[in-house]
């Protein structure tokens, strides 16, 4: 890891169907950085996060994330080290919060014994046996943060992490972000609340019409 950037995109473009969503993206993120990503609705922020998470293949340019080329099969190996929290919770409503975490833990090869601990950390110790569908939106988002705590990630991609969380939980998230940076990881935060992000981010970039400005 020694000094190599965690994310390195040069001239990257993303196309979905016939539209060019992202264009000519150059971005380098080093260990320890907290980067704010701003931009209007529809500018391509979520798409950029999914690109960096290796979930969308770039149509142009070259990108490396955690040492893996975005177009090589290596990217399957490093996915485990990338955490992402999107607009809509990615958990299964029929399963309990505990079961959802257990599923992620087993996929990632993490000990399931950590589950009660991380749920307690996000204030959901009492909700381990509640199905996700019967949990409030904020509880579901907290459970996603518990997942990111449990699987030790090097890169965290957060899409509006403050939404749906109450003040206690927001403090938790900001603590998590700062700890991740201290430990030598990196965090990218998408948000529309610039003041809040500027307070914790080490720098910020702006996406306008598919390009970074």
């Amino acid at each position: 890891m020694s000094g190599a950037p965690l994310v390195e995109l040069s001239g990257v473009g993303v196309r979905i169907g016939s539209s060019q969503i992202l264009r000519d993206i150059d971005l380098q993120i080093d260990a320890g950085e907290i980067v704010g990503l701003f931009g209007a609705n529809g500018a391509g922020k979520t798409t950029a996060l999914r690109l960096i998470a290796t979930l969308i293949r770039p149509a142009q340019g070259r990108g490396m994330v955690l040492g893996a080329d975005l177009t090589s099969p290596d990217r399957y190996e490093i996915r485990r080290r990338i955490g992402m929290i999107g607009h809509v919770p990615g958990i299964y409503p029929e399963m309990t919060l505990g079961e959802n975490l257990r599923y992620s833990a087993r996929l990632a090869g993490v000990a399931t014994t950590k589950i009660p601990e991380v749920l307690a950390a996000v204030g959901l110790a009492g909700a381990i046996d509640r199905t996700a569908g019967a949990s409030s939106h904020g509880m579901q988002r907290r459970a996603e943060f518990a997942r990111e705590l449990m699987i030790d990630r090097s890169l965290l991609l957060l899409d509006e992490p403050h939404s749906a969380l109450d003040r206690d939980a927001v403090d938790l998230v900001e603590g998590l972000i700062e700890r991740k940076a201290d430990e030598g990881g990196a965090v990218i935060i998408v948000s529309h609340d610039r003041d809040r992000i500027n307070a914790i981010a080490s720098r910020s970039v702006e996406l306008t019409g598919g390009t970074l400005t």
Binding site: V118, V122, G123, A125, G126, L149, G175
Partner: protein
């Protein structure tokens, strides 16, 4: 209110008396020329089946009335009647099977009436099972009444199945266009006596069951005043220090 919670005793007496009369009638009526004493099963088998029809028809009426009036009283009538109907259907099937073994040589066979009767049995078992899944009285009544209405379609289906598919089971012998097929007055009397007795049993059981369901509902209502889990209890302030 007062009268609804008073425990009545007359239904039990009525049940005992009418069953005794029906039993006597079925025993003194003559044996059949072909079936011998086996025919006595008929005096229970047939009234059971008919009372099952009656009971499910009352469920149907109760369900429709509930959907129109939204009064839970109708729902209780529908529920009580379905329960009793299930007993009678079960009895008809059980006796039919005991009758089938000596006469047809098998317990069960592919026959439209048999299959449809079994489906009817399960539909109303399902109706009862559905009622157990929720203790919210309004929701329960709404869902159960759907099934209470739909299930009633089974009644004509079972009854006419013997005409639509001419198979093993006996065609209608009493209620049919060209008059009753049973000629012996004693046999007819035993059959009618059985039906009357079973009807009294049905009405008596209905009275008891409605009483009981009413009490159960009130018990649930009172319980809901007691503490239940409350929103937000499961969520506490996060403590980041706790992990790693």
């Amino acid at each position: 209110m007062q009268s609804q919670t008073r425990i009545r005793r007359w239904p039990w007496i009525a049940i005992g008396l009418s069953l005794a009369v029906a039993f006597t009638l079925s025993m003194v009526s003559p044996a059949d020329s072909v079936q011998g004493d086996l025919v006595r099963i008929m005096y229970v088998h047939v009234p059971s089946a008919w009372l099952a029809y009656l009971a499910f028809f009352v469920t149907f009426i109760g369900s429709v009335a509930y959907l129109i009036t939204r009064s839970l009283r109708w729902d209780r009538i529908a529920a009580a009647s379905a329960e009793i109907g299930v007993y009678f259907t079960g009895l008809a099937i059980a006796l039919g099977m005991t009758w089938a073994k000596p006469t047809w040589g098998v317990w069960w066979t592919w026959d439209a009436r048999l299959t449809l009767t079994a489906i009817m049995f399960f539909v109303y078992l399902g109706y009862l099972a559905l009622r157990r899944t929720t203790d919210d009285q309004v929701l329960r009544a709404g869902r159960a009444s759907v099934l209470g209405v739909l299930g009633a379609i089974q009644i004509p289906l079972v009854h006419f199945s013997v005409i639509w598919w001419r198979t093993l089971h006996q065609p209608p012998s009493l209620v049919r266009p060209d008059g009753p097929a049973i000629q012996d007055p004693m046999m007819l009397a035993a059959l009618i006596g059985g039906v009357v007795a079973f009807t009294i049993v049905y009405v008596s059981l209905m009275v008891k069951r409605i009483e009981l369901i009413h009490l159960e509902d009130r018990k649930v209502d009172m319980e809901s005043a007691v503490e239940r889990p409350v929103a937000g209890e499961a969520v506490t302030a996060p403590e980041l220090g706790a992990s790693s």
